[in-house]
Structures are given as structure tokens and as C-alpha cells.
């Protein structure tokens, strides 16, 4: 059964308090982020139901939001998700080669996860780093001015951190 720690439950209360009384639904997006971080990097039906119960919402209110926003993962993903931007400015700066290189190196296509569960590759639309293209999001941070050498370095770094 999924459940937040007391510390995280305190965080939920803190988030709810940011909004007017009785408008705790406003806390849904931040609390879903919290749930995704806590419960394995994705939102299972169980996690979403848990969030619904915390915020006194109907489960459907949570599902409809979780399915709308692209950052909520509705199925399990790798420990490290490479989210590579493929919109105009990144395309101009060679993101297609970067995507292909990651794909070849890890042996997965966009949307797939490696068998060891370590890496996922996802193509995304503009992340607001057009001047530092090509780029990808990895966890909470952006990795910019990507080259094949940098990708090798990032993969090695992830493998090191995973152990």
C-alpha cells in the first residue's frame, strides 16, 4: 500500500495551506509531483487514489488531471529518464543525431526502457532551453549543449550513481 511518510504528509498540509480554504483541489498538481517522486517515478492507480483521498477528491478528478499533463508518467519508467527535446530550435542544432545516438547506445527506441530498468528514452517538445540546444531533461535538471561525448559521460555517470 502506498503511503506518504509523516514528513511528506506535513509537506502536503503545507501545500494545501497555500490556497484559499476549501480549495484544496488546487494542491493537486504539486501533490501529484510529490507522489510521483515518492512512489517509484510514476503514478499507479493506487497512488492516484491515495492522492484523491488525501485531498478529498473523487478519484476521477485525479485521473483526468494526471492524464492531461505530460510530466506525469502513467506507467513505470527507468530510474534515469532521458527526455530529449525535438522542437524547431533543437532540431536546427542537431537533436535528431543525439536522439539516434542515445537510441543506438542504449538499444532502446523513444518511449522504451532498457531491460535492466535503468534508462528510459523519451522525446519531448520545447523545454525552454533553445539557446543551449541540443538538450535534455534528466530528473530535476537540464543537460545542455549535448554532444555524443557528453551523452557517453552522462550514461557513465548514471551507471555509477545507480550502484
Amino acid at each position: 500500500m502506498v503511503k506518504f511518510s509523516d514528513e511528506k504528509l506535513k509537506k502536503v498540509d503545507e501545500i494545501v495551506a497555500r490556497y484559499p480554504a476549501g480549495k484544496q483541489k488546487s494542491a493537486l498538481l504539486p501533490v501529484l509531483h510529490l507522489a510521483q517522486d515518492e512512489f517509484g517515478g510514476w503514478l499507479s492507480a493506487e497512488s492516484m487514489d491515495y492522492v484523491a483521498s488525501l485531498l478529498h477528491l473523487e478519484p476521477i478528478e485525479v485521473y483526468e488531471v494526471a492524464t492531461f499533463y505530460s510530466m506525469y508518467n502513467l506507467k513505470p519508467v527507468g530510474k534515469y529518464m532521458f527526455e530529449v527535446c525535438q522542437t524547431g530550435p533543437c532540431m536546427i542544432n542537431g537533436c535528431d543525431d543525439i536522439i539516434k545516438y542515445i537510441s543506438d547506445t542504449l538499444g532502446i527506441k523513444p518511449g522504451e526502457t532498457t531491460a535492466d530498468g535503468l534508462f528510459s528514452l523519451k522525446t519531448v517538445e520545447c523545454l525552454g532551453a533553445c539557446g543551449y540546444a541540443p538538450m535534455m531533461q534528466l530528473g530535476k535538471t537540464f543537460r545542455e549543449h549535448l554532444t555524443k561525448e557528453k551523452i557517453d559521460g552522462i550514461i557513465a555517470e548514471c551507471r555509477r550513481n545507480a550502484n
Partner: protein, 451 residues
């Protein structure tokens, strides 16, 4: 050197933190504003001629004056930090390097509008910036700039950061409000406007990050003094995020007195086209605005020098002009393919359409499919006319401007680069090997002389 009033201090070591920011004149505008009435602050912003920096360019002071003030109903200011327009990364720069400038602008603006709870709606991907902003808010609060009875004025204000979760549409103000309320980002039908019925049905003003940061120099200099920067109705400075095939990509503050040519080629700004290539085209204000070929970018159809101002960039309307938009300046050199670029934008808008209105939901996907075919040498000449027809039927037929934003780049690409599209169709295997190139897009245009 152009005048800078926003990011002139960004290079100072430690400016991200309160002490350094304060030592360098930070929070002076709050002290100054609090000595006057909220109405006086609105008046200064009106005098400044400041126009919304998010893309629409609507006069900020006027927007503020629309806010309804029903008795006993709280009002809210919401800062739109959902920067997602391809080509645009200026708000990120401001928040990352000068978080206190935004907080300072938010305090003054909250005071002007009577907002006791102000929200920063930030795009979910800028996750690390949430930490930077929350730290700045905590510092400001510890030093008495936020909380109850600020500086003894009786004015209370709290600022909260609300993180989105990946949806371009939430940059549209009513979708942003829906998202703030914990719902899907489906834009609302206007009226009622947010100024009357916004977040939680309360009067709400939504402004862009750069707009709210600009309130600081406006109060410090005075509205009239600020309005002296720039040309005509393009007052003040504008942040331009420049990217694509230029030597120096990055965020520049311009005082709206320079030409497009100077912006691209001078060493103070972009430093020219990278790798000794020639300029082919440019999208001067983010992916939604019309793309222009080099010969229409540097000079207007009338033969005038095109300037980096709201008026000059839109000179010629959509037939021969473009827009300032969000300031996302995307430069394409002679090696770039306009069809491919347009295809990536169409894919973007299909991905970001909220699905509420049929013309946008169906049209964006249809355009993407056709453009993908043309790009891959599988298109027909009739596809080009079909694309034109689809974009016409999206534009103006949707609840929010995302439909227009998806239609315009396709329309402009066909309008100015139709021969490049036709070349793709007529040379299906060659277009997979090479791009169309510069062609005639930089040639001087004949200037029509009135009889």
C-alpha cells in the same frame, strides 16, 4: 551600448542572494511604492507605456485598471512563468539569475492590485528554479518584505510558487487559472475575463515574469522616464532570447531602438550567422509568429529598415510582417529546411492542443501528418493547398489563441516559401538527400512605388 534596466546587474557575483541584491539597490522600488497609494502605482505603470512581455503586448497599466473590486472579495495577482513558446527562454534567465528582481516586482504589483496571496505559476520542467524562487521568497520574508503588515503599511502579502506539469496551453491565462485550481488546462470562454472572475472566481490579473520584473525599474525611474526608452509605443527594454544559427545564442536586453540587422550582426548581440553561412529566414517572436525570409526580415515591404520594435516587426501585417511576440528570436541559416522546421512546430502544436475545440484538436494533427509527408518526399502539390485551407479553418475558430498560434507558422511558411514546399513535392528523393538552400530568399525585393 543600448540601455539596460532589467538584467544590467545579472553579472554581479552572488546577486541571486538577498544581501548582495539589497546592497545593489534591491527592494528600493518597494520602499518608494509604499510611500504612494496603490492607485499611484497603477498610474506610473500606465505612464510607462509597458506592454505585456508574454507575447500579446497588451498595455499592462490598462490590464491592471480592469480589475474588479467587489466588496469583501479577495483579489489575486498570478505571475505567468509557464514559459513554453519554442524559442523563448528569457523568463528562465530572469528567474534563475535575478530571482529577487521578480519577487520585488511582485510585491510592488501585488500592492498596486491589492493581492494578499500572489502565485507564481511556473512550468513543471523548470524544477530547479522552483527551489531558487522559494529560497528568494524565504529570504525576502525573513527581511520583512513579505508577510503581515509589510514595513508598517498594513499591507499583507504572501507569494507562493505553483509548479505546473508539462502543458504549453497553461501559458494561456485562463488555462493557467484552471491549472492553478487543480484541473486540466482547458482554456475558459471569455467573458467573463479573469479581471472579473479569475482564480476561484475572484478578480485576478495574470502577467508575464518579464512584465512584472519591469515594474521595478518603472517605479525606480518613474513611468515617464521609463517611457523615454525605446521608440513610439515600444517603450522600455525587451528581453530577446536568441537561438538558432547565430554565433552567440543567449538572452539579450534591447532598448527597442536598434534594427533587426544590427541585432543579428553586431558583436554586442548575436554576432552574426554562425560558421560563415548566410541568413535565410527568421522567426522573430517565438514559434507562433510568422516566419520571414531574410529579405523581408531586414527591410519592410516598403523598403524601410526593420527595427526591433513591436510596430516595426509587425509592419506589413501578416502579409509581409511578423510580430515581436514573446521575444523568442529563432534564426535559420542557408542550410536549414523551412518545411522541416514547420513540421516540428506543427508536431509541437498537435502535442500541446488541449483537445477542447475540434478545429485545433483535429487540424493540428492533420497539418502535422501532411507536413511530415511533404518533408519525407511523400507529398502532393494539392497538399500545399490543403494545408492552407486547414490553417484558415483553425484560425479564429477556437476558444483560445493556441489555434491561431498553430495556424500562423504554417500560413507564413507557405506564403513566403511556397517554392520550397513545391520543390519537396517535385523532388521526392532529392529532398531526402539535401535541403533547398538559400534560393532567392535573401535577394533584394522590388519596392512597389505608388503611381
Amino acid at each position: 551600448m543600448g540601455r539596460k534596466v532589467l538584467i544590467d546587474k545579472a553579472h554581479i557575483e552572488g546577486i541571486r542572494f538577498y544581501d548582495v541584491y539589497r546592497k545593489n539597490g534591491g527592494y528600493a522600488s518597494v520602499e518608494k511604492a509604499f510611500k504612494t497609494s496603490p492607485a499611484d502605482v497603477v498610474e506610473e505603470v500606465k505612464k510607462s507605456g509597458l506592454r505585456g512581455r508574454g507575447g500579446a503586448g497588451f498595455p499592462t497599466g490598462m490590464k491592471w485598471s480592469f480589475i474588479a473590486k467587489p466588496e469583501g472579495v479577495p483579489r489575486h495577482l498570478v505571475c505567468n512563468a509557464d514559459e513554453s513558446e519554442p524559442g523563448t527562454f528569457k523568463d528562465r534567465y530572469l528567474m534563475e539569475f535575478l530571482p529577487h528582481l521578480l519577487i520585488e516586482g511582485l510585491i510592488v504589483s501585488s500592492y498596486a492590485l491589492g493581492s494578499n496571496a500572489t502565485y507564481i505559476y511556473i512550468r513543471g520542467e523548470y524544477a530547479w528554479i522552483v527551489d531558487i524562487l522559494e529560497q528568494a521568497i524565504a529570504e525576502a520574508k525573513n527581511n520583512g518584505w513579505l508577510g503581515k503588515n509589510i514595513l508598517g503599511t498594513g499591507f499583507d502579502c504572501e507569494i507562493y510558487v505553483h509548479r505546473g506539469a508539462g502543458a504549453y496551453i497553461c501559458g494561456e491565462e485562463t488555462a493557467l487559472i484552471e491549472s492553478l485550481e487543480g484541473k486540466r488546462g482547458n482554456p475558459r470562454i471569455k467573458p467573463p475575463f479573469p479581471a472579473v472572475k479569475g482564480a476561484w472566481d475572484r478578480p485576478t490579473v495574470v502577467n508575464n515574469v518579464e512584465t512584472l520584473a519591469a515594474v521595478v525599474p518603472i517605479i525606480n525611474l518613474g513611468g515617464e522616464e521609463y517611457a523615454k526608452i525605446g521608440i513610439g509605443k515600444s517603450t522600455g527594454t525587451k528581453l530577446i532570447s536568441a537561438c538558432g544559427n547565430i554565433k552567440k545564442q543567449g538572452v539579450y536586453e534591447i532598448d527597442m531602438t536598434i534594427s533587426v540587422e544590427e541585432f543579428i550582426y553586431s558583436d554586442e548581440y548575436c554576432g552574426g550567422i554562425a560558421n560563415g553561412k548566410r541568413l535565410k529566414a527568421c522567426i522573430p517572436g517565438g514559434s507562433s509568429v510568422p516566419i520571414l525570409p531574410a529579405n523581408l526580415l531586414l527591410k519592410t515591404a516598403k523598403g524601410d529598415t526593420r527595427m526591433m520594435t513591436y510596430e516595426s516587426l509587425s509592419d506589413g501585417g501578416f502579409t509581409t510582417g511578423s510580430m515581436m511576440g514573446s521575444g523568442g528570436f529563432i534564426v535559420l541559416d542557408e542550410d536549414q529546411c523551412v518545411v522541416r522546421n514547420t513540421y516540428t512546430f506543427a508536431r509541437f502544436y498537435r502535442h500541446e492542443s488541449c483537445g477542447q475545440c475540434s478545429p485545433c484538436r483535429e487540424g493540428t494533427g492533420w497539418m502535422e501528418k501532411i507536413l511530415k509527408n511533404i518533408e519525407n518526399g511523400k507529398g502532393k502539390i494539392s497538399d500545399i493547398d490543403l494545408l492552407w485551407d486547414i490553417q484558415r479553418k483553425i484560425e479564429g475558430n477556437t476558444i483560445c489563441p493556441l489555434g491561431d498560434a498553430a495556424a500562423w507558422p504554417v500560413a507564413a511558411a507557405i506564403r513566403h516559401f511556397r517554392d520550397e514546399f513545391e520543390w519537396h513535392v517535385k523532388n521526392p528523393s532529392e529532398c531526402l538527400q539535401r535541403n533547398y538552400g538559400l534560393a532567392h530568399y535573401a535577394d533584394p525585393r522590388p519596392v512597389a512605388v505608388p503611381a
